[in-house]
Symmetry: C2
Subunit: 266 residues, 2 copies
């Protein structure tokens, strides 16, 4: 499997604290040592750092913890390979362009028969993971339904939730997806989130000996939501998402949410 | 304007030496201080490092000089903005996916009336540069001519040379383009290249006090071509490309070349 981390904030915010915890799970406190990647949006642009090396040992991951890149939307993934070899083209997040935006995608879980069940025509995968295949299929469906014209966020993300539910029937599909403006999270079985806002307090990482006093790092207007497969701190209350639930975040706030038909327990 | 650097090699090779020279031109020995980016292909995957900061002062650029990422195809760009603000979405190289490959593009020069002259339908730009617009137009033309089926390299790159010549009529268009397998260079007015092979010798950077003895770093079978707007070393013989000339490299060797109709001197 793997682990996901994402952030949505109303002011450019660095993710050094959360990433410091997560990167330990890539070969140190966790077994997700088959590569990692992180994408930061800055305006309409984005930049990624990726390494097929374990994050706990990666000089690039160390740079990301030490160089505070401030962003309003971040998606991060550390990988434990189950479908597709350990190599750069199989390393999340995956990024493609649609409607003049960068779309960034990271998946936790495993999907069965994805090549047979999800037929692709336009967005051809580069690597061999079930994850990228599902992303390409999702983009194909957006293209087929909306063509060159991006619909309203309501229409778009309600449709993406339906597609997520359809993919989820093939296995486990915890998803983080962003176009920079919005950050979409779909829970198959394992996603948590927390919104930090004034009055800010302290928090301690589970995976590293690090504590932060957010009060010293923020202003009263800041709103920062962090989403992760597993909570990263042990002294805050994280919200656990339900199977089939989706949430849409923008600038740190939930702007839409819903519950798709869940799978019957198998 | 800006500067370009690219590499094609028959064995995974790092570009630390050449990049150490080039990065100095981003705010130190040269005025190209409006951001920089570099893309490394590793197999079918690629990863980029980008920063809107001057390369001479960028901690990410320092990492790239110190962390030897070995690659068979690299494209790098340092920017002096003339069209589009200094921001991440306007920072080269630009990457898009087509036919199951990552296509990476970097441009030196300036194009007039690109929005009026080159009409785009499918590949919508994210930033505001003339460069990205021309890239999106080029991908649109490939899509319109070949649809879902990638043609032979001969047919493909001969057509890309024709498109390059068409774009070049709008101004100055020195281009580096790669899909990982091949590296295409089109000269508008300013591109040089050098192929290093056995017997290897020494080389000294123009922009930094650094000398390398390639004999110690290579085997007799290695073939490494470096392409740059301006030569990076002062004790080797670089080939100067002619206006309208294009070269296609793969695994360090020239595999095709041609001469398009050049502009009449203006």
């Amino acid at each position: 499997m793997c682990e996901l981390l994402a952030m949505s904030a109303n002011v450019p915010t660095d993710i050094c604290f959360s990433f410091t915890g997560l990167m330990q799970r890539g070969g140190n406190t966790g077994p997700h040592k088959d590569g990692w990647g992180i994408t930061f949006y800055e305006g309409k642009g984005c930049r990624s750092f990726k390494d097929p090396l374990p994050s706990a040992e990666s000089p690039i991951a160390t740079l990301v913890t030490e160089y505070p890149i401030k962003s309003e939307a971040v998606i991060c993934h550390i990988r434990q390979a189950n479908s597709g070899a350990v190599c750069l083209e199989n390393t999340h997040p995956f990024i493609r362009q649609m409607w003049g935006k960068n779309w960034t995608y990271a998946h936790n879980g495993q999907l069965k028969d994805v090549h047979q069940q999800l037929s692709i025509k336009y967005h051809i995968p580069i690597g061999t993971t079930d994850s990228e295949h599902a992303f390409c299929w999702l983009l194909d469906q957006l293209h087929l339904k909306f063509a060159q014209q991006q619909p309203s966020n309501d229409e778009l993300f309600t449709f993406i939730a339906q597609l997520s539910e359809q993919i989820n029937r093939l296995g486990v599909f915890n998803l983080i997806l962003s176009n920079g403006d919005c950050l979409f999270a779909f829970c198959s079985n394992n996603l948590h989130w927390i919104t930090r806002r004034a009055p800010f307090g302290e928090a301690s990482l589970i995976d590293a000996e690090m504590m932060v006093d957010f009060h010293k790092e923020t202003t009263d207007k800041d709103v920062v939501t962090v989403i992760a497969t597993q909570p990263l701190t042990d002294d805050e209350t994280w919200q656990k998402m339900l199977p089939g639930q989706w949430q849409l975040f923008s600038l740190g706030e939930v702007i839409a949410s819903g519950q798709t038909r869940t799978k019957s327990p198998s």
